[in-house]
């Protein structure tokens, strides 16, 4: 499905601007087909949505370009699930500080 697409033009992770070319580099040159490892090298899945938008597509890309059936894994989602400001998290006393 991705084979015929221009790898430089297809964005697989919008938050971090990661292209299909980046992912293919990891899968084909570095021979890495673990979702968590690719995330740590290329940052796909490290954006504000924590990979909720790109996980499915990235898994499909890994399946397509890895030679054998692989155990891809899943992203680990970390708190907070949505971005929160320091001043909203900090204790009230701290808000007195200017």
């Amino acid at each position: 499905m991705f084979e015929k697409m221009d790898p430089e033009k297809v964005i697989v992770c919008r938050c971090e601007g990661i292209t299909l070319a980046d992912l293919r580099d990891g899968i084909e040159r570095l021979k890495i087909n673990d979702l968590e490892e690719l995330k740590r090298i290329y940052r796909c899945g490290m954006g504000p949505c924590q990979g909720r938008t790109c996980e499915k597509v990235i898994k499909q890309v890994i399946q397509e370009f890895s030679n054998n059936e692989v155990d891809i894994g899943s992203y680990s989602y970390r708190p907070p699930l949505v971005p929160i400001k320091f001043e909203e998290l900090a204790n009230v006393e701290a808000n007195d500080v200017t």
Partner: protein
């Protein structure tokens, strides 16, 4: 498929295991196998703040870190991979007279070892980081050649170059036992099979004491959860890593623009828990705003935790041991194993491949705890 035999089995696919594999392979050692129970970089290395500082409280930590910096300066070139190493400096403000005094002693020791470090007035600290609130700062120390790197890229670069040199990396493979016969290592047992080997290298990070226990070595080490967060990327507004031992906090704006921020929690009990807590982010955001009010407006993106593998003197335990032939280790980095790992790996590769024993290996061996005469590095957080 696991190989049946190996010349050396390295346990742990973090910075210590992968860099050792690379330096050993570069020296021509064959049949090197790395066993990693999860994936490469899944332990402390992939979770760390990745600061690289030379401003330590003991000569051992200081001189090792100075050597490590020399190595990091050319590491991207050596591995042909940009590991995002930068010498952005470390600024360490003291908010109490006690720390100000301690820092002036530290600086004297560090200068004696040849480190270019300065003892600053609060205003001089503010000149370096204009957004720092220096109202209660007594003094600060600064070293411009300190800095940081990207721990993920560093580890994957070592792993990739090691693989090119023939090293086999088996992930999702957990070491469950090690057999010893006649005082020498004979094999490593895993959940995927057994490998015969005359040598093992314990680079298991927060689980190093469990690996040592498999060969009846009792390490004076405990693991502690250490939490950290990252903010959204914002325009660059300060250069150095800032650490405060008074506030027990460190933070740095990395190349990508986000700020990494962590702290030690002295109430943390020894253990292997790496869950994140709400208390941590409430507490650290509160404290950091006091040091740098501008942080208020930033968004926290993610928080996570990893294990500090801590020794009684906050210095690593490296080298071989008297009782078990073929057992080597680089463990107990006490929160500074990313910066020291690669240098320690070069020393360990010389020991294992060439039989060359640098004097620092003896000073940091397990034996040092037998005398009971240790000097603790208190410049940790």
């Amino acid at each position: 498929m696991l190989p049946k035999t190996a010349d050396i089995v390295i346990i742990g696919g973090g910075i210590n295991g992968t860099s050792l594999a690379y330096y050993l392979a570069k020296k021509g050692i064959k049949n090197i196998v790395i066993l990693e129970k999860n994936f490469v970089c899944s332990g402390a290395t992939g979770r760390c703040g990745a600061g690289i500082r030379q401003q330590w409280g003991t000569p051992e930590n200081t001189s090792l870190a100075m050597e490590a910096v020399k190595l990091f300066e050319t590491l991207s070139e050596e591995l042909d991979w940009d590991i995002e190493y930068e010498q952005c400096g470390y600024l360490i403000p003291a908010f109490t007279d006690e720390f100000a005094d301690q820092f002036s002693k530290n600086v004297r020791m560090q200068k004696k070892l040849g480190l270019d470090v300065s003892y600053l007035t609060p205003q001089e600290a503010k000149d370096i980081v204009p957004d720092l609130c220096v109202d209660n700062v007594r003094a600060a120390t600064y070293c411009s050649t300190d800095g940081g790197g990207n721990p993920l890229l560093t580890t994957y670069a070592y792993a990739h170059r090691a693989k090119e040199l023939g090293v086999k990396i088996h992930t999702k493979t957990e070491v469950t036992d090690i057999t010893v016969s006649g005082g020498n290592i004979t094999s490593v047992v895993t959940d995927k099979g057994t490998i015969s080997t005359p040598m093992i290298f314990n680079a298991a990070g927060g689980h190093s004491q469990e690996i040592a226990a498999m060969v009846d070595i009792d390490l004076p080490i405990n693991s502690y959860r250490h939490q950290i967060l990252v903010t959204e990327p914002v325009e660059h507004f300060f250069d150095p890593m800032i650490i405060s031992f008074d506030y027990n906090i460190y933070f740095r704006q990395v190349k990508h623009g986000s700020i990494l921020m962590g702290c030690s929690d002295t109430s943390e009990k020894p253990g292997y828990d790496t869950t994140s807590t709400l208390d941590f982010i409430k507490d650290i955001t509160t404290r950091s705003i006091k040091i740098m009010p501008k942080l208020k407006k930033l968004n926290v993106l993610r928080q996570w935790a990893g294990l500090y593998n801590v020794t009684p003197d906050a210095m690593p335990i490296i080298g071989d041991v008297a009782d078990v032939g073929g057992y080597f280790q680089a463990v107990g980095f006490s929160g500074h194993g990313y910066m020291l790992g690669p240098k320690v790996a070069t020393l360990m590769a010389e020991l294992i491949a060439d039989g060359k024993r640098d004097e620092i290996i003896d000073r940091l061996s397990l034996e040092r705890f037998k005398s009971g005469n240790i000097t603790v590095d208190s410049s940790v957080c």
